[in-house]
């Protein structure tokens, strides 16, 4: 009996010693779950490039406290079931120290559940659903570096208020993103502009492709402006149909869903309706600051091109993990989780703080009006009159 116990103690001792020495030299493993196939592959692929750009620069400069960072990527296929099993494999089989990723809200909720069970810190860089970090779903290991539907919808209400809308229409997609966005927009507009009235609301299905009936219904309404949640993946079809009806001449249009994304505008070209208001995560032509230039050169070194907003999501998610490990002085989940709460990092946007209570970064978005380019050699629509609307007062 005593022999067995001694043997057990020896093994335990050896294991502890082994782990301790492993921590000094082995790479820090980061599990990245981003879809590179499926409906959200465009966003996922770019976020992964952004992540890799950050890690490449990090490792060039000696890693984190002397340890290199190793990325283990799994394709989550924009599918929560795939994301769950891939996340579990990454933690249990590959022994990753951190999880990053998810594009759709469903993926994020799935990964967060694995993070809760395995006590692994998870950073969501893209998903915006408020459900990820609401009272019901929050746990010590889930964090979000993305903005959320509250700050996106409320900042849109700020634009609507400035445009002086008293009669407002909305066209939002009939799933959680659309509903959360609509609620935030309505709440904040009611605060800013009590006299404003929502006169017509239409809810196309998330995968709708024929918007004719919805456009018709809006055209028969007497609203001044339309707030929309038709995001960049769905917008091209909508824009073509609505444009043929003269929709964008009739209404002022404020759209969430990052239509100001540079690669998106490059793809849209002439088809992009001018004069509409929309948001973006990042655009390479604004702001002209040193931090932003540094970010641009890091991405360009990786992809040989100017970035799209989605690159920034992967880049900043990893930056939070990096600086939290440094602050904690370890890769221990609990220590990093504690370090993340209230952590402020310097980004191209200026300082960004991970709020302690909501575990949500105080990230806002850039808003601007789509107009002609005044950048030499860049002949596609750009965002003009750009302004960063911070999340202060819009979240929590």
């Amino acid at each position: 009996m005593t022999n067995v116990m001694r043997f057990g103690a020896m093994i335990m001792g050896a294991t502890i010693a082994g782990t301790a020495s492993a921590q000094d030299s082995d790479p820090i493993k980061v599990g990245v779950l981003l879809p590179t196939t499926g409906g959200c592959a465009t966003a996922g692929t770019r976020a992964l490039e952004g992540h890799e750009a950050y890690v490449a620069r990090l490792n060039e400069n000696g890693g984190i406290d002397g340890r290199m960072v190793e990325t283990l990527h799994r394709d989550s296929q924009c599918n929560p079931a795939t994301a769950t099993s891939a996340a579990r494999d990454l933690v249990t089989k590959d022994g990753v120290d951190f999880l990053i990723g998810g594009v759709s809200s469903a993926e994020a909720l799935a990964i967060s559940e694995v993070a809760r069970q395995t006590e692994t810190v998870y950073m969501a860089g893209i998903p915006k659903t408020v459900q990820l970090t609401n009272e019901e779903n929050i746990h010590p290991f889930v964090f979000r570096s993305a903005d959320n539907t509250d700050s996106e919808g409320k900042s849109a209400a700020i634009i609507a208020d400035r445009l002086g809308w008293d009669k407002v229409c909305t066209i939002l997609l009939d799933y959680s993103y659309g509903h959360d966005l609509g609620t935030a927009f309505e709440e904040h507009l009611a605060e800013l502009r009590p006299e404003a009235e929502i006169v017509t609301q239409v809810w196309p299905a998330a995968n709708a492709d024929d918007y004719g009936s919805f456009i018709t219904e809006l055209l028969s309404s007497d609203c001044q402006g339309v707030f929309s949640g038709i995001w960049s993946g769905r917008f091209p079809g909508f824009a073509k149909q609505a444009g043929a009806f003269g929709f964008f001449d009739r209404f002022e249009y404020v759209s969430a869903g990052v239509l100001g994304s540079t690669k998106f505008l490059e793809n849209m070209g002439d088809e992009m309706p001018m004069g509409i208001w929309t948001n973006a995560v990042e655009v390479f032509y604004y702001p002209e600051t040193e931090e932003h230039q540094e970010y641009l050169s890091a991405i360009e070194a990786q992809i040989g091109d100017t970035p799209d907003g989605f690159h920034a999501t992967g880049y900043i998610a990893m930056q939070f993990i990096d600086e939290a490990i440094r602050a904690a002085g370890s890769t221990d989940s609990q220590a990093v989780s504690d370090a993340l709460k209230g952590l402020t990092i310097q980004t191209y946007l200026g300082p960004l703080t991970m709020r302690a209570g909501s575990q949500q970064a105080d990230r806002g978005t850039f808003w601007g009006k789509i107009g002609e380019s005044d950048i030499e050699g860049y002949d596609v629509p750009i965002m003009t009159e750009i302004e960063y609307i911070s999340a202060d007062g819009l979240i929590d």
């Binding site: 409906g39 465009t42 004719g212 009936s213 018709t216 028969s220 091209p236 043929a244």
Partner: protein, 297 residues
């Protein structure tokens, strides 16, 4: 809202333009079903592939050339026709007369193959084709203004319907297909090469799907998986109208289109259910569809 004539006219036209695109696709499906007795699950995938081929022609190879979309639509129909010929001659012909689940499995395999091929060739980004220059913007119809391209779709659907009717009713080829549908053995005994008739029907059906895909792509958008919704709608149309009936498909498409456009406005919560309720209602009264023939047992 119905008292506003502009609104009413727009809603009717929304329904009709949607119906005519669906009809062009469903016509091919019902033709194949009527003659070959094959439930072609891949018909939606043919539609999707047609859209992508048209995009390749109109937005890449002939970008900026006047009439690029029309050329794209013709190329789509031809490409899909050739593809259908190859599929029919090398694979599908072995399944005639076999149990139905072989046919279902085979056409479903085609769906997966085509979807993967589309992802490999064109990626997963959503693509669109511009409206042709001549049909940009809206036309003033007096009571309302309405997008020209959609008016074109309405008119073109009618042209296709009449053209197909003439083809099936007034030509020798049409008589052969009708005969093949009624009694394949007898037709063969009369010295007609039935496999050729079958192949030609499959080619025509796939060509219609391809052209429908091209024309729809100029008003909608292209993305992998877009075939799933359209194939369900087309099956509903074919079932409502009666299996194998051309005018049945025409009527079914119009009913589905109008029900969707009015349903979206008046019953937004139940719009999707309405279509199924319509189908159930019709099948309860006429199990063989509106214009279908009761099968002799």
């Amino acid at each position: 809202m119905l008292s506003n004539p502009m609104f009413l006219a727009m809603t009717v036209l929304n329904g009709l333009s949607m119906a005519m695109v669906l009809f062009i696709i469903a016509a091919g499906l019902t033709l194949i079903l009527g003659v070959l007795r094959i439930i072609n699950f891949a018909h939606g995938a043919f539609f999707m592939l047609g859209g992508y081929v048209a995009w390749q022609v109109a937005e890449v190879w002939l970008d900026g050339v006047p009439g690029a979309l029309w050329i794209g639509a013709v190329v789509s129909a031809l490409v899909l026709g050739v593809l259908a010929l190859v599929v029919e001659r090398t694979m599908l012909k072995h399944l005639y007369g076999r149990e139905e689940h072989y046919q279902l499995l085979f056409t479903f395999a085609l769906v997966l193959l085509i979807n993967d091929a589309v992802k490999v060739i064109w990626g997963t980004d959503i693509l669109t084709i511009s409206h042709p220059d001549s049909l940009r913007g809206a036309a003033d119809l007096g009571v309302t203004f309405y997008p020209k391209y959609r008016l074109f779709l309405c008119a073109f659907g009618v042209v296709v319907a009449v053209g197909l009717w003439l083809l099936v009713e007034k030509t020798r080829w049409g008589r052969l297909t009708r005969a093949a549908r009624m009694d394949r053995e007898m037709l063969s005994a009369l010295g007609v090469h039935v496999p050729t008739v079958y192949a030609s029907v499959f080619v025509l059906g796939a060509g219609l799907a391809g052209m429908g895909g091209a024309l729809a792509a100029a008003d909608r958008s292209l993305f992998p998986g877009m075939d799933a919704e359209i194939i369900v709608q087309c099956f509903i149309i074919v079932i409502i109208g009666g299996l194998g009936s051309l005018w049945g498909a025409f009527l079914g498409a119009i009913m589905l289109g109008l029900l969707t456009s009015f349903g979206t406005i008046f019953f937004p919560q139940f719009e999707l259910v309405l279509v199924y309720l319509l189908m159930i209602g019709i099948l309860l009264v006429r199990p063989w569809g509106l214009l279908g023939r009761e099968e002799a047992t």
